[in-house]
Symmetry: C2
Subunit: 145 residues, 2 copies
């Protein structure tokens, strides 16, 4: 069974090479681990995962490469309240917004095409060209009520 190179990795490698950067074992491990981890991971959580496979790796390297993933468009920062920044996978998942439980912190991913359209309309009505948006609805999730 041949190991296929995942597309996210190809995209990342291309981004790296185009900028004259280099391919390293650490990068590979970090990128792989990021995409097989949970959907809203912190740098610390990813560091702990990565450390198990390669205990030599440093925290700074994980942070740096998460930043690179963001720059390349493969990841995106999510900041909720006073929590540490979380990183969302932007490959293999379409745009969505979040319902955030104020009791347990659960993130529920949602999408509403009507809302998306109205947001665009609202922006344009204000002579504003929308690029991206962030919608977070805070409340009580099903488990917590």
């Amino acid at each position: 069974m041949k190991k296929e190179k995942s597309e996210f990795k190809e995209i990342f490698i291309k981004y790296i090479e185009d900028k004259g950067m280099r391919h390293t074992k650490q990068r590979e491990l970090i990128v792989d681990s990021f995409f097989s981890a949970g959907r809203h991971i912190t740098s610390e959580e990813l560091f702990n995962i990565v450390k198990k496979k390669n205990p030599e790796i440093g925290y700074a390297t994980v942070q740096r490469n998460l930043n690179l993933l963001c720059e390349s468009g493969l990841a995106e920062e999510i900041k909720i309240g006073k929590q540490k920044t979380r990183y969302e996978q932007k490959y293999g998942s379409k745009h969505h917004d979040h319902l955030i439980c104020v009791k347990c912190g659960r993130l529920i991913e949602v999408n509403d095409e009507k809302i998306e359209k109205l947001q665009d309309k609202l922006a344009r009505a204000n002579n504003f060209i929308p690029i991206k948006h962030k919608l977070e609805i805070y409340g009580i999730c099903g488990n917590c009520k």
Copy 2:
């Protein structure tokens, strides 16, 4: 011409007294300055304004009282990207969301009743009780395009 005590101040004083806290000249100045300042001010900006009226005042006092304003419901934190926290006046202005220019940083306040309704519906469809939400649309404002 008698100076009327503004309602926001009454609300704040009531909040303070109910918690067994005390009324001080610093609080009064900070609250007054906050409500006559711009709509999305940082603690640093407010500190600089307040310092002109009372150069004795400390930064920590401004921060603390902004936090109190938030607790009382009269102010709300807005965090945009990596910027310092800004504080929004929540008295005398109804709920709104923001268009945020990625070029000049301008904040445009908007509201769309249809979007608000659909957000509620979306939350409930996910067995989620919405409490509040935050919608930020990033893009290019009229001045910048």
